[in-house]
């Protein structure tokens, strides 16, 4: 169970919520390639909202839009851009309920209020105006290395991933790759990348929602694997398997060890070598305070919403490992053979 939040924490939460309420809502349509139909979906949502009586304006349209997009945009009120940049003063004077802004990753010309369009969007949201926008995964800065590895190309314009993650809503625009539009395999890989990014954003939102509603959940929709290292574990096998499982499940990999006092020099050396291996693999390594081995691991696993715990087999009967198996009701325990050491 989670402890009750302290009053200061509650106050900060309330203040943050109030600020959020004054702020306009941001909704982003996320696609994996040009021409999957993000812009159309975005403007179509604008059209439907207008039909339902909301005050909607178009603040930015791509130059090379499809006929279907042009047709919708033509039926909505437009606030023209100035040298490509959103006309912020005009929008603030007009004060619509909803702004439609295509091409979220856009560099404003010199002399604009902000260098980047996403900063304009931020300013509009602060005025309490909702924004609907669209972006492709190749324009998310933190995804650009991965995109480049797939396509060999890097988009010049980008937005920080954090901006996307803080959006109230993101919606995936999915479609099977249109092979006539390029290399099918690259497109499929980009599609997977966009889906995984969306899943992470949704997972983040789910946790935020649960936290702000005081729901302590031990479960998750994502696999979270915890590898527990001891001096005698076959760290190479366990970490390799942990990594493979985390990758295949698109989950998280954590590594922990329970600090022990009075380890002999040889064991300390083995533990250090195992931990070094984990560091080399780039795993997050947690040190659990000395104490009862099974209790410490159990508490940490629950706090971290672990779904699979990887452990070495015990060398003897009635060991802490057996006790852990008895107590670990809410996650899987996988036991690994020991290496040749010791």
């Amino acid at each position: 169970m989670k402890a009750r939040p302290d009053p200061d924490q509650l106050l900060r939460r309330v203040q943050a919520e109030e600020q959020r309420e004054r702020r306009g809502r941001l909704k982003v349509f996320l696609g994996y390639a040009p021409r999957v139909g993000k812009s159309l979906r975005m403007f179509d949502e604008g059209r439907r909202r207008k039909e339902r009586g909301q005050d909607v304006v178009v603040a930015a349209v791509q130059e090379k839009s499809s006929d279907a997009v042009r047709e919708i945009v033509g039926r909505l009120e437009n606030i023209a851009t100035v040298a490509g940049a959103i006309d912020l003063p005009a929008i603030f004077r007009r004060r619509p309920e909803v702004c439609l802004i295509d091409e979220l990753a856009f560099d404003n010309p010199a002399g604009s209020a902000h260098p980047y369009r996403w900063q304009d969007v931020e300013a509009i949201l602060k005025q309490g105006i909702a924004v609907i926008s669209a972006i492709n995964v190749q324009h998310i800065r933190e995804q650009q290395d991965a995109v480049e590895a797939i396509t060999g190309k890097r988009a010049a314009r980008s937005i920080p991933q954090k901006f996307l993650r803080e959006a109230e809503e993101i919606e995936v625009v999915d479609a099977p790759p249109d092979v006539s539009n390029g290399d099918g395999r690259s497109l499929a890989e980009l599609r997977e990348l966009a889906l995984l990014l969306a899943a992470d954003v949704v997972d983040y939102q789910l946790q935020q929602y649960l936290d702000s509603n005081g729901v302590a959940a031990h479960w998750g929709t994502q696999e979270r694997i915890l590898v527990c290292l001891t001096p005698r574990s076959n760290a190479a096998d366990m970490l390799q398997s942990g990594q493979r499982n985390a990758r295949r499940f698109h989950g998280a990999l954590l590594v922990a060890y329970v600090a022990q006092t009075g380890l002999n020099a040889a064991d300390q050396e083995r533990l250090d070598a195992n931990l070094a291996l984990a560091h080399d693999l780039g795993a997050e390594v947690h040190r659990l305070p000395p104490g009862n081995f099974a209790d410490a691991l159990l508490a940490f696993a629950r706090e971290q919403r672990i779904t699979q715990l990887f452990l070495g087999h015990s060398q003897r009967d009635r060991s802490p490992v057996e006790r852990l198996i008895d107590l670990a009701e809410d996650f899987d325990v996988r036991l690994f053979p020991h290496g040749q050491v010791g």
Binding site: D174, E189, V202, L210, W219, F249, Q308
Partner: protein, 345 residues
Amino acid sequence: MSRRGSLKVYLGYAAGVGKTYRMLEEAQALHARGVDVVIGYFEPHGRQETIAKTQGLEVVPRRRLTYGGAQFEEMDLAAVLARRPAFAVVDEFAHSNIPGTGNEKRWQDVHALLDAGINVLTTMNVQHLESLNDEVWQVTGIRVRETVPDWVVDEADEVVLVDLTPRALRNRIERGVVYAPEKAGRALDNFFAEANLTALREFAIRHTAHEVEDKLFAPHREERILICLTGRPSSANLIRRGKRVADYLHGDCLAVHISPGPVCDQAVQRHISFARNLRIQTHVIEGEDVPSLIAGFARTHKVTQIFMGRSAPRPWWNRFKETVVQQVVRMARDMQITIVAERRR
């Protein structure tokens, strides 16, 4: 024999996200290009925008059936087969047919169409995937009864995510687009609670990513997972979990039951046929010494991981007796053994 038809699945996470609408949009696009498309089965749910999307498409009349004194309508498989279109639209892939009137499940009807060379467009929600049944229950409290084995969806040529944000979905429900107004309020409090929707949506997005990845990489089978099957109710969870891990690792999956006598009891029989439905190779070994038979079977079948359920709690008078799990663990310290959690709420 004609070429097998292709299968496209529109995957969503709840009623009302727009799966049927997207499917019909595609059917209309095909129709406009002169492709021979018919509606084999369509569930209108009284949604006007969706119904409008069927205009101009040929509908194969449904089959009317009486069961337990009530009238039902199902897809008329024989009529669709006789009509032989290039594409058939078949809504609600996970649907169970009325008992005793042909195939048990609609996905089996769809397979008959595919076998006849007819391409099929269909819809389903992620919670109907067999392997997610326990996780969905744990997260949402809903035990989904109509399920589709994962291999059926894995075999689809295309899986397309139909996404809608939970907020937009809840707005649609409030406006009465999805359900009649008297049902809407209750729906919003229960299944359509925001946390449920968000979690289900995450499952749908992750599963689509998994399907995309599966088609990208040729499997190289190095893992062999052995599920130790018993008659305990938790075996269903164990089977789903073992199969899911095997699938994600692109590994093989087999199951063994150690039976004290020549005849397995009914619960075991049910689990064995459940495992076979999921395309798990099953074995029954007659014998008394459960732990050593399991360990021996694992060794002779080159198993890389043993999956076991948690042992039943021991009665007070027998607290120091070793459980089967303990015995297997002690006997097979040279192997990977996974003790699977019991999903609870």
